[in-house]
């Protein structure tokens, strides 16, 4: 058993990060996917995670969404433990109820969009606010329409996902996640399943969010140019830990570690 007393019940002081991974380890059987990860994401910061496949980068997002459990360590969101909760002055693994309450602060967009096929674009966006936040249909409709407008999908609001292109579906999925007013947004390879000519319409929406909204964002992507443009910080993952991290210009322009250099040149060659 891990000694939980090394982790604070909640984060205190100035400059509490929006997200803190503290000593987080994730294993699948004998395979260690993430090894004692420490990572802070400040409020309003845009952090992009890059790295070869199998380096654990998607796992980072999935753990934060609590889609994956963790084996060791604690994740904090807005200063409060996410993966654990306080019981008699000690941290214990979180109950399903605690997880549900905490993860409502986090929104996520997936590689394959995962829109609900039996609902229109508008209904997809209204589902969370009405069913989870208990908002009135009228209010939820207003909020959803505003967001569909923001992502340029208001004209298609009454279409089912099967009638939309991949890029359009992903934009609706972004609106659906935003409709919950999350503090943290996670983008998990949101352009990887898209045809090259529609990638731009999705990246433009994300660019817009970065420019105009003070959202904390964590993104996994293979679009290096895009990542360089919009990120405050890039984390290069290798073999379950952060090999190197820094400002985009520094990391892309002057990588210090050999593995980072190899990865970036391999990506550049691939094009």
């Amino acid at each position: 058993m891990e000694d939980m007393s090394q982790y604070p019940l909640e984060l205190t002081g100035d400059n509490i990060p929006m997200v803190r991974f503290m000593n987080v380890t994730k294993r699948y059987g004998k395979l260690t996917v993430l090894d004692r990860l420490d990572l802070d994401v400040a409020t309003g910061e845009m952090v992009t995670v890059i790295g070869p496949s199998g380096s654990g980068k998607t796992t980072v997002l999935r753990m934060l969404m609590t889609l994956e459990t963790i084996n060791e360590g604690v994740i904090y969101v807005d200063g409060k433990p996410l993966t654990h909760m306080e019981k008699n002055g000690a941290l214990v693994p979180a109950s399903p109820k605690h997880l549900r309450m905490m993860r409502s602060q986090i929104g996520m967009c997936f590689q394959h969009f995962n829109l609900f096929p039996h609902m229109t674009a508008l209904e997809n966006c209204m589902e969370g606010p009405v069913q989870v936040l208990g908002m009135s249909k009228q209010e939820a409709r207003k909020r959803s329409e505003d967001l569909l407008d923001l992502v340029g999908m208001i004209e298609k609001k009454d279409q089912h996902p099967s009638r939309l292109s991949g890029g359009q579906q992903q934009r609706v999925a972004i609106a659906r996640a935003l409709a919950m007013r999350p503090k943290v947004m996670l983008f998990d390879e949101v352009t990887s399943a898209l045809d090259p000519e529609v990638i731009g319409e999705v990246t433009n929406v994300i660019r817009d969010l970065v420019d105009k909204h003070n959202l904390t964002m964590l993104m996994v992507t293979h679009q290096m140019g895009f990542a360089k443009d919009i990120s405050d910080r890039i984390c290069f993952f290798f073999d379950g830990s952060i090999e190197e991290q820094g400002a985009p210009d520094a990391l892309f322009g002057n990588p210090q570690r050999e593995r980072t250099q190899q990865f970036l040149s391999a990506v550049k060659e691939a094009g």
Binding site: M65, L67, P96, R100, M101, R103, S104, I106, G107, M108, F110, H112, N114, L115, F116, P117, H118, T120, E127, G128, Q131, V132, Q159, H160, P161, S162, R163, A173, R176, A177, M180
Partner: protein, 221 residues
């Protein structure tokens, strides 16, 4: 006596019998759907006891003869103080039996919904019940409607067994008229035709229509 003369003479009896068969069919179908849903969901539970109850139920009702189950419910349960009239015993036996088959369809339908749908609903912080009811089941339903069409035709044909506990359904009427007139070919021939028409021109088109409606709801049509 030709089939036409036979029909002209005995159609009121056959009509009554068909009405009873239709009632047995509808009640047994509703029961089977309810049981299938509950047992199918229970079979997917994380709780081993809940899962065990469902597995036991499915094993018993799928693994033994419907006729024996019918006799148990009608003749044996009264010995334990549970007495059902023959009409009720009839559709309860058929419904419980076909419900066990339906449970497997429900389980399979739910498992056929892509994992990403669970994850998206989870990421919206929906409760487990809402995830199932609002996101997964509607999609599972579309996937399982075609096999349910088959199952309901099976169910209709199985209702003929209730004549053996003297429920006055279509089969009972045919047997009765055969017994008093010895017009076997006409009596059982007409019964065959009615069952076929019921299945082919009422149950099947209804299920097709339902599939169409559900597909449109998914925007697939």
């Amino acid at each position: 006596m030709s089939l036409w003369e036979f029909i002209a003479t005995y159609w009121p009896d056959f009509l009554k019998g068909t009405g009873v068969t239709a009632a047995q069919f509808i009640l047994a179908t509703m029961l089977a759907i309810g049981i299938a849903l509950v047992a199918g969901l229970m079979k997917l539970s994380r709780n081993a006891v809940v899962r065990g109850v469902s597995v036991t139920y499915i094993e018993i009702f799928r693994g033994t003869s419907l006729l024996v189950q019918l006799y148990w419910i009608f003749f044996v349960l009264p010995l334990f103080g549970v007495t059902l009239d023959k009409f009720t015993a009839g559709f309860v036996a058929v419904g419980m039996n076909l419900g066990a088959y339906g449970a497997e369809l429900v389980r399979g339908g739910i498992q056929s919904v892509p994992k990403g749908q669970w994850e998206a609903a989870y990421a919206l912080s929906m409760s487990p019940a809402k995830r199932m009811w609002r996101i997964i089941l509607p999609q599972a339903l579309v996937n399982m409607l075609p096999p349910w069409g088959n199952l309901l035709i099976e169910l209709l044909k199985n209702t003929a067994l209730v004549s053996l506990i003297s429920v006055t359904d279509l089969m009972f009427v045919a047997k009765q008229i055969n017994g008093s007139t010895f017009l076997s070919a006409q009596a059982f021939g007409l019964a065959l035709i009615v069952y076929y028409v019921f299945a082919r021109f009422i149950v099947t088109p209804f299920m097709r229509w339902l599939e169409g409606v559900m597909r449109r709801k998914l925007g697939r049509a």
